[in-house]
């Protein structure tokens, strides 16, 4: 839906690139790491999303004529804009699989190429991956809370403008069952959901007539919104009348929806009224500013709810509006690079790297990922990145390398995956993560450590630059 062009970037990517170009550094070969430093939502894990969209965009990214004219007008050098005319991303990308679980500080994706192509895509890459990973993570948490109940994305109207389009995609990876967002549903083949708003009922002179018209037109997708006037005195009794009328035609309405008031109380009272009317098949959906904590509370209260509709808090990732993903230089011209910082945890990791995930004999995740130099074949110990006297033996674990080459010289190596394949894969991974990493309060810390070789390399560079 979005018409990206290569000016979907920060100006500094181009001012830097112009220096590289005019000063003869345009062929500097570099490696950048994409990673984040902090998990959002106090979550014990995050769900990586956005890779397919990124790769697809990179395959066709270029400066169009309008861009080039604009750059000239802004004073960029004609030799440089001439060079940009033929710009295409011809780099190589190593990445975790979309939908995989990811953790702070470890590379999720690495970009290898010349400095100009790698720099120009930085903004786009962060913009796509940070947001979709944030929302897939939020969605996954809501899925944890909802258990096997139905979970539906209603967020488009409250999404951050055009972000809503991709929010619905990412939410599906994280575990929602359906979306109200028709455009994203259309483009990514996501099941759709939605029946009626309050305004629909208000345009009629009475609620029963509004319900009845809807049931007749949509007998197979009939969820009646019961709180326009008075849920228990008007909405539910009218829904019961409609259900009974439809039964005479051999039809069954699907359910009712509660969108205000105390959802625990109202769902129980509604369930009782429906059951007493012999309508135990009529399902109860709820909505109204839900998040994972409210869903969990409703579940803990045994509210007889069959489906949760989630909006604002899902599609905006409230209260953490952004994942703090960064894109840091690890290598330039085959020399390892580092960014120092007063804050030790912000010092970057040099070299091209690999990440291994540890599993036990049952295939469950052991709760640790180890970052190694790319050349290391086996790793026996991993070290805490800041306190290296803390270490962990990895001998007993099964080790799986996580970074796979997905694009080479600008061409995709892996075949494009459908959204439902990605969602299925993500769900399989979350099943392998032990429960204590998934709880909402003080989740168990998933450890990310460094190999001894990587640690030594980092120390060497710190010493060099501190001099």
């Amino acid at each position: 839906m979005i018409n990206y062009s290569a000016t979907y970037t920060d100006q500094y990517q181009l001012t830097m690139s112009q220096v590289y170009f005019l000063k003869g550094h345009k062929d500097t070969h570099v490696i950048f790491d994409y990673f984040f430093r902090n998990l959002p939502f106090n979550s014990g894990y995050a769900v990586f999303a956005g890779l397919e969209d990124l790769l697809e965009t990179l395959e066709t990214l270029k400066f169009d004529q309008f861009d080039l004219d604009f750059l000239r007008e802004k004073g960029f050098h004609p030799d440089f804009t001439h060079f940009l005319k033929d710009y295409r991303f011809k780099g190589t990308i190593y990445s975790s699989r979309e939908g995989d679980l990811v953790f702070p500080t470890r590379p999720i994706l690495q970009v290898e190429g010349n400095i100009i192509e790698a720099q120009i895509i930085e903004t786009l890459l962060l913009n796509i991956l940070n947001f979709q990973t944030l929302i897939a993570t939020k969605s996954s948490r809501m899925r944890q809370a909802a258990g096997s109940k139905r979970l539906i994305d209603f967020g488009l109207r409250r999404a951050q403008g055009a972000a809503g389009y991709y929010a619905s995609r990412a939410a599906f990876i994280g575990g929602v069952d359906a979306t109200s967002n028709m455009r994203t549903g259309r483009d990514y083949d996501i099941p759709l959901s939605g029946t009626m708003a309050h305004s629909y009922i208000e345009t009629y002179d009475n609620e029963f007539e509004a319900f009845m018209d809807f049931a007749e037109v949509h007998p197979d997708n009939c969820i009646l919104l019961v709180d326009t006037y008075d849920t228990l005195k008007s909405g539910i009794p009218n829904a019961i009348r409609v259900a009974k009328k439809m039964e005479l035609q051999g039809k069954k309405i699907n359910g009712i929806r509660l969108d205000s008031g105390d959802l625990a109380y109202l769902s129980k009272a509604s369930r009782k009224m429906l059951d007493e009317a012999g309508l135990d098949y009529v399902k109860i959906s709820v909505s109204n500013q839900l998040d994972e904590h409210i869903i969990k509370s409703l579940q803990d209260q045994h509210a007889p709810i069959d489906a949760f509709g989630v909006g604002t808090n899902l599609v905006t990732g409230h209260p953490d509006a952004a994942l703090d993903g960064v894109y840091k230089l690890a290598c330039a011209n085959d020399k390892p690079r580092i960014k120092l910082s007063e804050n030790v945890s912000k010092i970057t990791l040099p070299h091209r790297k690999q990440v291994f995930r540890m599993s036990d004999d049952e295939g469950k995740f052991a709760g640790c990922d180890a970052i190694t130099l790319d050349s290391e074949q086996d790793i026996k110990m991993m070290y805490h990145p800041i306190y290296p006297h803390k270490f962990l033996s990895l001998e007993k674990f099964h080790k799986e390398p996580l970074l796979e080459k997905v694009m080479e010289n600008g061409i995709r190596l892996t075949k494009s995956q459908s959204l439902s394949e990605i969602a299925r894969y993500s769900n399989e991974q979350i099943q392998k993560l032990p429960e204590e990493y998934k709880r909402f309060d003080f989740p168990h810390l998933y450890k990310v450590g460094l190999s001894h070789n990587l640690l030594k390399e980092r120390e060497k560079l710190i010493t060099k630059y501190r001099k």
Copy 2:
């Protein structure tokens, strides 16, 4: 940049519309109000933004063939999809001016048309206006804190995906001077900003050489990032050497940028070093997770900062990721409509309405807007919407009607405004708002009241529906 089509909507807009169509209600004439209930950020005001984008989108909105095929496939009735083939928005819109200050509960915009056209655009309208108003408001608060200092949007990488495109537009309305976002800058003619990242310096073997190359290529746009290795021991001394070298060529670098550490301390120390080197013209920019409160704190500490670069907190509207704007039915078939709620503040206002803003003799806003029936020419008193025994005489004020017809039968009546015109208008309005509404802590409450006639009409409907 976004290719909207009419399926950029929630499914329920179409399931409802299908009922209207098949049950013979498609010509039901309706009026919807757009308003929000709560100010974000504990702000004393909000800045309305997004109108131009909305109107432009509505002028061309339609279901394309792909949409229509998709709807058929999803089971929508062939007569209905045939009808949608010719769907165009032919309604009428009354709106506040883009960039104006807006307050809770009062209509900001009204849509009048047939029920189907008015319903289909709801999601799109909320999606565009809620987000841009949120960000323009955040930006305006940052502008209040920054005073006359330069304020720059660096947010694209941390924006919610494609939201970043419109965030930069809205931020400019609210008062930023420039953006790093080239694409939005190109499309909306916003001044651009941006020089170098840490990676640029890291690709060089030494910082001085990196600075020098940059200064030679960009002598007129040279802001050196000084915190890659050590701000005061390496970055500033190297920046001074470069500035001195450039002076020999008759050039002056623009400034330095601090992106980590204690910005108050480092800006003071840097200023001192630069001044002692005779470089009082070299400006100091800062960035790193700034928001309006941190900017205010830096100002209160008299940090010698010339420019603030703002990112995540600006473009995501952190910590309030969404404006709670809603779209509520006020009239159907010339009969006033209302939505009741247990929560009195959520009861809607019936009828087509006008909003008047009160000003004093000096042209300063008096701190109150009055909502009236559209037919009322003059209003002498306004009443508290929930506690009508609280009222206010409006006799002494100048009254300006705020809702203007901007689109009629789907055609724009007002000429399209440039972004800089909108930003200028917004700035004029904010100058008229007394300081106590602009402060961050417990801002003075801007009052929104109802005319006596509107109050009576609402009471009548509440009584009717409660029966």
